[in-house]
């Protein structure tokens, strides 16, 4: 069985995003970039499924040439080969989903495991879009995945609790935080990853038009909250709560 894992290069989650003074976006110059955390979980899940009949894991990234680093991380974790679709322009989820569809058509994976959301644009769309374009089942926000030879049963995190769905293969899964804890790549595996195959393509190779549909007119900082007062003890806090009408 083959699994495709799309991974996105994003601002590291530990870095505080700074809005550029000219209002065109968030400053990504000279800041640490990493694999989207949900995609690490996706790679990890694919690796764990190797005991359950998965034989090949293909990592895919769409973005600037530096996304190679992200793919090498996936290879070092345990993916077998990688495809980079180079685009210097930002590709929106719809464009990403169309490219992924073209790759799925060529690679014929049994499963595609994506992150539920990229933590830069917080779109939470790509997996669902890909499933729609392919006309296959989707299990978003996965917290548990059980794979058999012709189906996958997924427990999903939903408002109020959890829900279980059974999908026939091929299927699309998106990961939630509690699916697994991703491994760190070991040094020998990082070395080995350097010689694993990494194909470079362009959107034109797949005949996909990735012209953006949205124009970002401006990006601003949210209204700032300022620190308020510190109270000395519980009595003072109780008095404040009473003054607000929260406590009687």
């Amino acid at each position: 069985m083959k699994v495709l894992v799309p991974v996105k290069r994003v601002l590291d989650y530990n870095v505080k995003p700074r809005v550029k003074a000219d209002g065109t976006g968030v400053d990504l110059a000279n800041v640490k970039m990493s694999m989207n955390p949900f995609d690490e979980i996706a790679v990890e899940e694919a690796i764990r499924l190797k005991d359950k009949g998965v034989t090949e894991i293909v990592a895919v990234s769409i973005g600037e040439a530096k996304s190679q680093e992200t793919l090498r991380t996936a290879l070092a974790m345990g993916a077998d080969r990688a495809i980079l679709v180079v685009s210097d322009e930002k590709v929106e989820p719809l464009g990403v989903a169309k490219l992924l569809k073209a790759i799925v058509d060529a690679e014929k994976p049994d499963l595609v495991i994506l992150g539920k959301q990229a933590i830069d644009d917080d779109n939470n769309q790509t997996g669902q879009m890909l499933a729609g374009l392919l006309g296959v089942g989707q299990a978003t926000f996965a917290s548990k995945v059980e794979l058999t030879s012709d189906s996958v049963t997924v427990t999903r995190e939903v408002d109020g609790g959890s829900e279980t769905e059974k999908l026939s293969l091929p299927a699309i899964i998106t990961t939630d935080l509690r699916l697994n804890e991703p491994r760190y790549a070991s040094l020998p595996n990082i070395m080995k990853a350097k010689s694993k195959p990494l194909d470079q393509k362009t959107p034109a190779d797949y005949g996909v038009d990735v012209t953006p549909r949205l124009t970002t007119l401006k990006v601003v900082e949210p209204p700032k909250r300022t620190a308020g007062v510190k109270v000395a003890d519980v009595d003072e806090l109780v008095a404040k709560l009473k003054a607000m009408g929260v406590a009687k």
């Binding site: 917080d122 374009l133 978003t140 769905e165 953006p212 510190k230």
Partner: protein, 310 residues
């Protein structure tokens, strides 16, 4: 412009999240609602009373009992031949369904909008709410999810929309089937609609402590209970208690963060709360930078004392 709003419901009543979406839709034009499900008469009747709604479209089919995106999306796509914009709440169901609709319509979805600036321009948070983007769409049809805390709720009473049934025939659960769910029975207010929220973090150190310390305070205040990711990951509380960038977005009158450090991913989910109260033993914890009222000290001493004095 004619808009179609997907109504979130549990088979019995309309979920609150829908009302904020109606408000957002009203800013775009005429509002139709879609009530899809199995045995939806009561829900449709309730939906028809929401102020500002023209028509309630119903799709009644056993295959729609659970809102699987695979089944619901094609139905919405069909109805979109007659509508210019589709709106859904940014709830787990809304987020699951809307992008599939967008892909089938070949449009780029605008996720989690905070405001409607004009017919084609919206604001939305990016980078865990550390930046707000104003985006304009070139797509003729719009697919939008709406952040519930960013819009007033439409009045649940006062409207008198007509109810029209649409053809739900031919729908089936095919590529995916619903197996079951474990939805906890809530004894407290729902997180996303509560006026007061008491949230606990990693500092609670165990599930027993969480129940013994956080819940009595919440009950005294009639509050919902939330948690940080760390508390959820450690198993102190169920996953749907998580507040944050990748959990629930809340904006209550009062949010109490107890033993929560204030990571940006947590702040993303609660920093629009009216009043933030933080209790933390570390006076330099980042949560104090956004808290209106802070109390430095050991929560295991402070919280029981607070509960007893309320």
């Amino acid at each position: 412009m004619k808009t179609l709003v997907w109504v979130e419901h549990d088979g019995k009543t309309v979920k609150d999240a829908t009302l904020a979406v109606v408000t957002a839709a009203t800013k775009l034009g005429e509002v139709d609602l879609l009530v899809a499900g199995s045995g939806v008469d009561a829900v449709a009747a309730e939906a028809a009373k929401i102020a500002g709604v023209s028509t309630v479209l119903t799709a009644d089919n056993a295959a729609l009992e659970h809102p699987l995106a695979e089944t619901v999306a094609p139905l919405i796509v069909k109805l979109m031949s007659d509508h210019d914009a589709f709106l859904a709440p940014a709830t787990s169901n809304g987020k699951n369904i809307a992008p599939r609709v967008a892909a089938l319509l070949d449009v780029m979805q605008i996720s989690d909008i905070l405001s409607v600036e004009s017919e084609d321009t919206f604001t939305r948070p990016i980078y865990a709410g550390n930046a707000i983007a104003t985006v304009q769409t070139k797509d003729a049809k719009k697919v939008i999810t709406v952040r519930g805390t960013a819009f007033e709720k439409a009045a649940a009473e006062g409207g008198s929309a007509k109810i029209v049934s649409t053809d739900g025939a031919g729908l089936e659960q095919s590529v995916s089937t619903y197996v079951g769910s474990e939805i906890a029975k809530l004894e407290r207010p729902e997180l996303t609609s509560a006026k007061v929220i008491v949230s606990g973090g990693r500092a609670l150190a165990s599930s027993e402590n969480f129940h013994a310390v956080i819940e009595p305070l919440a009950d005294k205040l009639g509050a919902a209970v939330g948690a940080s990711r760390a508390a959820v990951d450690a198993g102190y509380v169920p996953n749907d208690y998580q507040v944050g960038q990748t959990g629930k977005i809340v904006a209550p009158e009062v949010y109490m963060a107890i033993g929560i450090s204030g990571a940006i991913q947590h702040l993303a989910g609660m920093k629009d709360s009216k009043t933030i109260i933080a209790i933390n033993k570390d006076e330099d914890a980042p949560i104090f930078q956004v808290a209106d009222i802070g109390l430095v000290g050991d929560l295991f001493k402070i919280v029981p004392e607070l509960t007893s004095k309320l």
